[in-house]
């Protein structure tokens, strides 16, 4: 069992949890993920490691409630336990050899972008962070990003905070104003990453995209997380989760990500219903 030492609501749909997992905290690197199961009948889901503290032996996860499992996870309180918590899985994000990088995060993906930006910054790299949200209410990690970025551009779709527009608008403006990046690292919704990669391809800037496909074991056994990169089938859990953004078949990834949508919606509703009954 893995104890939740801290739980904090970042916005109405996104929650942060710090979980006691000393072995994982000791090894974790930015870009890696864990697999958890909330209880003994639960589903295994991958969540990216948002932060880790080797001294206290804790790992931070940030999640958005999208399905039955994240709903059940959110039902747990500080001091309670998560049944299973395994990792760190996947390859760490490539951060060596970069002197100036644009980190582009979208929505809850910023939780994954943050540790990458932090590591780059600590390595002495010049970091320009662009974070995007639907509206002001959904903004997360603004202060954290400020601390590890030489420049931070915060975008909202509706202009209720920061600059109105998409992250690609901000990235394009920066590139056109003469900023020369060794790499762009992007993490967020697939559709956002697709357009970020299309933009950087025009300017021929090396781009890494962090993929978060459907996954079961996370160790290379099931093959559920496969995607096409440069025409070859790759497994996100052992070959990724980061891939060359100009090689990824985003349209296929978008299609595959919708496999269980109807099922998830139904399961989510059922779990919500169960919790409502419990409250009554």
């Amino acid at each position: 069992m893995y104890r939740i030492v801290k739980k904090e609501s970042l916005n109405p749909t996104v929650t942060l949890m710090e979980v006691e997992a000393p072995l994982i905290a000791k090894k974790a690197e930015p870009g890696q993920f864990i697999i958890l199961r909330v209880d003994s009948n639960g589903e295994r889901i991958p969540l990216t490691i948002a932060d880790f503290n080797r001294a206290t032996g804790t790992v931070t996860i940030i999640y958005q409630i999208v399905g039955a499992t994240t709903q059940a996870l959110d039902h747990l309180k500080e001091g309670e336990n998560i049944q299973d918590f395994a990792g760190p899985l996947g390859r760490p994000t490539e951060t060596e050899d970069f002197k100036k990088v644009a980190v582009v995060g979208g929505g809850v993906g910023c939780a994954i972008a943050y540790p990458v930006a932090k590591k780059l910054y600590e390595q002495g790299c010049e970091v320009h962070s662009i974070t995007g949200f639907r509206n002001k209410e959904l903004v997360i990690l603004e202060e954290e990003f400020k601390k590890v970025s030489n420049k931070l551009v915060l975008m909202t779709d509706d202009g209720s905070y920061g600059t109105k527009g998409l992250v690609t608008d901000a990235l394009k403006t920066l590139i056109e104003s003469g900023e020369k990046y060794d790499a762009v690292i992007t993490i967020g919704p697939l559709i956002m990453m697709k357009f970020v990669c299309a933009l950087t391809k025009e300017y021929q800037i090396k781009t890494l995209a962090s993929m978060n496909p459907i996954m079961i074991d996370g160790t290379g056994m099931c093959g559920g997380c496969r995607l096409s990169v440069g025409g070859k089938t790759k497994f996100a859990c052992v070959d990724g989760p980061d891939f060359d953004g100009h090689e990824i078949d985003f349209d296929e990834a978008l299609t595959r990500s919708s496999i269980y949508k109807p099922f998830e919606r139904r399961a989510h509703e059922e779990v919500c219903h169960l919790y409502e009954m419990e409250v009554k």
Partner: protein
């Protein structure tokens, strides 16, 4: 007087048209009377050829003689000396190509049903038995076993019986490896696997789940920081293979591993499971091994019309004869001498069909193997809304990528000395699918036992010097 019947006692089983709609065990097991009757077919011959066909060298005639006398506890003790998983082996071993193939009674008529007797003895013990395995006195040596599948469990069991303090590291949340994620409930009930694992725990074996060696901890750390004097790597087969044909990443295309894991480990077959799974109406399973049969029979039970697509003939099907028979009885179709060339999908990315071509077998080559060759202009399409690829696996890269100095074959298998299981690293042994590529439960157990013996002599040798 021996029972001279030419045929085995038939195995009671659920009716095919009933069982293909439930996940309860197919074969029901012998009664006491049937077991004694079958045991009496054993001639107890002097040269005991059956033992040489058993990868874990069970004293088969001895346990059968005790069974014939009704001494089921003693029979169990005899099996337990060699096997840590008798209830499992009695169910999933390919006996027809091992012990039973060597049985003298098989020369004229059917061999003694050794597997069914093993299963009976183990089940009898599980239900009524009082044979308690006693925890041996500790010899103070610590051994790490990576992976809790058949090879790891066999290795851990043998070492624990010798007094070693053994810790098994398992990447998943549940111990058992392929026995729990791969082999379906109707062929190997999970409660039986759990009982055998519990028996190992009673011997003092510790199981650390959710620990991924190569990620959470390295082999080097196990040896240097945690003080394990020897390590056995039984990490299994790993990455599923795909054919690299168009359409393989469409929605509704599964690897057999993913499909079986969802069904078995994550219990998608139970009505209250939250595990999502695509329940196809027309399912094509590509491949002809035991895993393909398991996937096909699971899909059938989830309500589909199922076809197995295999590129050779029935004679070359790598699956156990009994599994093929069971699958046929349950209504699984076989499309033989057929190989997929493309998977078709609709505009939403869902599978709609499987394009195949007909094959023929070539003249035997130098190795005597007849290769499947495509027939010209033979392409055709079959309707399908789910395709399960079951064409084998390649070794997982996690351990090779994180263990310096570990010699690996070009296809990814760990190189070991066959007689001992020793790898290129001092104190590190390996066995099972991680070494051989996908094989059988009993071969993996054999490799685990071999390594356990080698680890024992290695550590005793060190103690003496």
């Amino acid at each position: 007087m021996a029972n001279m019947s030419l045929t085995k006692n038939e195995m009671p089983a659920q009716e095919p048209q009933v069982r293909n709609q439930n996940f309860l065990e197919v074969a029901l097991g012998y009664s006491k009377e049937q077991a004694i009757d079958e045991a009496n077919r054993c001639l107890n011959c002097k040269h005991k050829p059956c033992i040489s066909g058993c990868p874990v060298r069970i004293d088969i005639p001895a346990f059968i003689q005790e069974t014939a006398r009704g001494n089921f506890d003693t029979a169990y003790e005899i099996i337990s000396r060699s096997s840590s998983l008798p209830a499992v082996c009695g169910r999933v071993c390919p006996q027809e190509s091992q012990c039973e193939q060597k049985c003298v009674r098989g020369i004229k008529g059917e061999p003694v049903a050794i597997g069914r007797l093993e299963r009976f003895v183990a089940d009898y013990q599980n239900t009524y038995g009082n044979t308690k395995l006693t925890k041996p006195a500790s010899n103070g040596h610590k051994i790490a076993v990576i992976g809790s599948g058949p090879s790891g469990l066999a290795c851990a069991g043998d070492l624990a019986k010798k007094g070693y303090s053994v810790t098994i590291f398992e990447a998943l949340h549940l111990a058992g490896g392929v026995l729990v994620y791969g082999i379906p409930e109707f062929r190997l009930p999970k409660a039986i696997v759990q009982k055998e694992i519990n028996a190992l725990k009673e011997l003092g074996v510790e199981i650390a789940t959710n620990v991924i060696i190569g990620k959470t901890l390295s082999i080097e750390e196990l040896q240097n920081e945690y003080g394990f004097e020897a390590v056995f790597v039984g990490s299994g087969a790993g990455l599923p293979n795909f054919m690299n044909i168009p359409g393989e990443n469409l929605k509704g295309v599964y690897s057999a591993n993913e499909f079986l894991t969802r069904v078995n480990l994550m219990k998608a077959y139970t009505p209250d499971s939250t595990t999502p799974i695509q329940k196809g109406k027309k399912v094509m399973v590509v491949g002809g091994g035991n895993v393909a049969m398991d996937a096909a029979r699971c899909a059938k039970r989830l309500g589909a019309e199922v076809t197995i697509v295999y590129r050779r003939t029935e004679n070359e099907l790598p699956a156990r004869h009994e599994e093929v028979e069971h699958a046929k009885e349950e209504g699984i179709q076989f499309k033989l001498l057929t190989s997929p060339i493309e998977i078709k999908g609709d505009s939403n990315g869902w599978v709609t069909g499987l394009c195949c071509q007909e094959m023929t077998l070539s003249q035997p080559d130098d190795s005597g193997r007849r290769k499947p060759v495509p027939l010209e202009n033979s392409a055709f399409e079959m309707e399908a809304d789910c395709v399960i690829m079951s064409i084998g696996t390649s070794p997982n890269p996690l351990i090779k990528d994180t263990t310096k100095g570990l010699s690996i074959r070009n296809w990814g298998g760990i190189i070991v000395d066959e007689a001992t299981g020793l790898t290129s690293l001092t104190g590190v042994y390996a066995g099972g699918d991680a070494v051989t590529g996908a094989a059988t439960v009993i071969l993996a157990m054999g490799a685990g036992k071999t390594a356990a013996e080698a680890i024992d002599s290695y550590l005793k040798g060190e103690g003496a010097s």
